[in-house]
């Protein structure tokens, strides 16, 4: 009888201890969250009506020399898959060369208008890549990608839509159980898809 009571108490304690452990784990993994994406869409603008876009080369703030072009290609492919008519990257590059634009950071409203008129597009997209790498965390490595995209009306250069988003970081299973995470490219694709979901 005494033995039965001890076993019951032990089981009861074990169940409680396990419950407390999982609650604690859930809280620990939840502490770092809360950075949802925010985006801007100009009031009164229906972005779905924009069906022809020129995507300019992106600014690259990373140590990966080609990350801007990688992200730009992924953005273009994603836009095309959504039925948007995107001007060929080579044509855009040629025009920028013709316009003698020295820096992407110095594109003014006059330039946007010119690009719009020559390429016959309604909107021009600019962007930048902030991070595109495998970062080292406290205990594990993880892919990290962050990009900023802005859609300008070609005629007025008004900002029609803007978004900055980041993704990556090691999840609960990667940190504690060594599960295989996503690659940088997979992370970038997911990120771009999430961002463009807010546009189209």
């Amino acid at each position: 009888m005494i033995k039965d009571t001890t076993i019951k108490e032990r089981r009861f304690f074990l169940i409680r201890a396990l419950s407390a452990f999982f609650i604690l784990m859930a809280c620990v993994s939840g502490c770092a969250f809360g950075n949802g994406m925010k985006h801007y869409t100009r009031p009164g603008v229906d972005t779905n009506s924009i069906d022809k876009i020129a995507v300019l080369p992106f600014e690259n703030f990373t140590s990966d020399k080609f990350s801007d072009e990688k992200i730009r290609s992924l953005v273009i492919i994603d836009l095309i898959s959504r039925g948007v008519d995107v001007i060929e990257p080579g044509e855009v590059r040629g025009l920028l060369k013709e316009m003698q634009l020295r820096s992407l950071n110095s594109i003014t409203s006059r330039h946007f208008k010119q690009i719009g008129e020559i390429l016959k597009v309604q909107a021009v997209m600019t962007g930048s890549v902030g991070v595109f790498k495998v970062s080292r965390g406290a205990t594990v490595s993880y892919p990290e990608v962050s990009i900023s995209l802005i859609l300008h009306e070609a005629e007025t250069s008004d900002i029609l839509w803007s978004a900055w988003h980041t993704t990556g970081g090691a999840g609960f299973w990667e940190r504690h159980f060594g599960a295989e995470g996503k690659t940088v490219d997979e992370t970038a694709k997911i990120l771009i898809d999430d961002i463009l979901d807010t546009l189209y």
Binding site: C31, N105, F112, G130, S135, A138, S146, W164, G169
Partner: protein, 193 residues
């Protein structure tokens, strides 16, 4: 009854530990109480001073500030190219040492109500023992074009290793999440007003 007391005590300790793991630093900021911020509709974000070893940190934070300001839906932000063009046109070499007249001239050229300037003081990984975590410190200021005065100023730090990360391997934020968090928190002080 004794067992119940033990459980309650354990839960209290766990909650205390969890609370101490979540960050809650109070931002240091100034906001001019006599200014009606709803008046400011057009804003320009000037290039930020980079006081870090990361060459791109100032531009990354600047893009984040522009994006967060736009996301509030309260202000229009001048495109970065126009700002650079005006700075070059006016022959301004050092953004960190703008005087009142230069602020007014720059604002009038860009046709904005206010300009935001600032600096990135820390942008990198902070080491603590064998572990490291990203930490970012920024300072942002808003100057009124009409008067040339600073009407909002904030200095914020975010990131680093907290209690839970150090002891239980809890998720630390990525550098991008830290940047997003610090900028968002800064802009929130403006919105809250």
């Amino acid at each position: 009854m004794n067992l119940c007391k033990k459980y309650i005590l354990t839960i209290v300790i766990l909650i205390t530990v969890m609370i101490s793991g979540c960050r809650g630093s109070v931002p240091l900021y100034y906001i001019d109480p006599n200014v009606d911020f709803s008046f400011f509709k057009n804003v320009a974000v000037l290039p930020l001073d980079n006081l870090t070893n990361n060459k791109a940190s100032a531009e990354i934070v600047r893009h984040m500030v522009i994006s967060e300001l736009l996301a509030t839906g309260l202000v229009n932000v001048v495109i970065p190219g126009e700002v650079m063009s005006a700075i070059n046109e006016l022959g301004i070499r050092n953004i960190s040492s703008l005087n009142k007249n230069q602020i007014k001239t720059l604002g009038n050229t860009l046709n904005v109500d206010a300009v935001i300037m600032g600096s990135v003081e820390q942008y990198g990984d902070i080491k603590s023992g064998s572990m490291s975590a990203p930490e970012v410190t920024i300072t942002l200021m808003m100057a009124d074009i009409a008067s040339g005065n600073i009407i909002w100023s904030i200095s914020l730090t975010r990131g680093g290793l907290d209690f839970m990360s150090r002891h239980f391997g809890a998720k630390t934020e990525t550098m991008s999440e830290v940047v997003q968090g610090v900028v968002r928190e800064a802009i929130q002080t403006l919105l809250a007003y």
